[in-house]
Symmetry: C2
Subunit: 211 residues, 2 copies
Amino acid sequence: MDKLDTFGFEFEPALIEEIKKFGELKHFKEGDIIMDYGKYIRMMPLVIKGTLKVLKKEDSGKEILLYYLSNNETCSMAYSCCLEEKKSDIRAIAEGEVDIIAIPHNKLDEWLHKYPSWKNYIMRSFSERFSELLKSIESIAFHKLDDRLIAYLKEKQRLSGSSVIKASHYQIADELATSRVVVSRLLKILENNGKILLYRNEIKLLKDFEC
Amino acid sequence: MDKLDTFGFEFEPALIEEIKKFGELKHFKEGDIIMDYGKYIRMMPLVIKGTLKVLKKEDSGKEILLYYLSNNETCSMAYSCCLEEKKSDIRAIAEGEVDIIAIPHNKLDEWLHKYPSWKNYIMRSFSERFSELLKSIESIAFHKLDDRLIAYLKEKQRLSGSSVIKASHYQIADELATSRVVVSRLLKILENNGKILLYRNEIKLLKDFEC
DNA sequence: ACTTTACTATGACATGTGTTACCAACTGAC
DNA sequence: GTCAGTTGGTAACACATGTCATAGTAAAGT
């Protein structure tokens, strides 16, 4: 928990003390489910290491990718759920090794009044998630699949810090809300153009991976 | 401003007094621009009558429809903008006659600390806008244009309370991020199926307008 | 009344994407 | 090694949507 000091949250010292006192450090492994559909959410996660993938189940039954969370970010949806004491309609999955601090739900509101830095953090967080959703909308509405695929690969590269992306075509298709065949087709074209190399469960972005 | 009492905000009396004192009642007519790109936003609008359309300009230059605001709703994006004292990247346009109360930006944060009901209102508001964006994403990602068009018409009907929708095909195309020709085509099919009647700048939904 | 502009209708066509089907290659379990 | 399961490659096709061209028609301005 001492790690907390070394990370980028800009909280005042008193708040950091509270976080140390009431927050619970948790570790998750690849694929672990941190929040799930239908369960009550009683804590809000602050991500301090690794990446979370946050999904939402739609009425139609399909899942959509809401956003990824990484360093020092938190899940606005979880916040809403906590406040309203309602069952979750989202699921969060660990991508690789993940450390979070779980903030108990009864502190959220209290700190909002007590600590301006907490309030700012929560507000900024909402605002950032908002922007990301807007980016998604723009992407889906105005860009063709090949552009979206390229953007997806770049984002993965950025998050993992590696130009080797570990994912099956099927997974990618899921996150882009399309089908496996289509993804394979487009990836093959990228490979033929010398942008990437394809292996089983693995895509390597070559150095001139642009556009 | 006395109207305030009669509307559905669930604020505590002291807050209502403050709103009366510092808020400014404003009236707008069809097409009036309430917030615009590049301007600083120094107030947050509470809609008390009519409907606002809120748009955002994307990097690509295209505009996307964020959401509609009507009774007792407010604009979360404006809130973010106010807090960060940054120029607006959104535009709000009056649809028909609109009354709003403009809350000065310096009160937003103050009230957040002072009045739980205000804090809840703001939080709920974020949460609702969030849900709407998600609905948009689902709609764009998983539904065909004809479904989306029908949903659009129903929403317009709901908001205006009338089964006669005043809009050109071009406007509709814009909001659905498609082209005029496509909208005309789909509307004509709906007309041929006996769901609607088409006039110039006007669409009448017939009573068995379903599915 | 005449011109101009905005709005709508419609055909023809190009293209992106979804779908189905089938096969090949790899992986892990037994 | 065999087998089943997963993953990826490819062809063929259907269809929704975007685009271009062209014309008719209503409204608005002069």
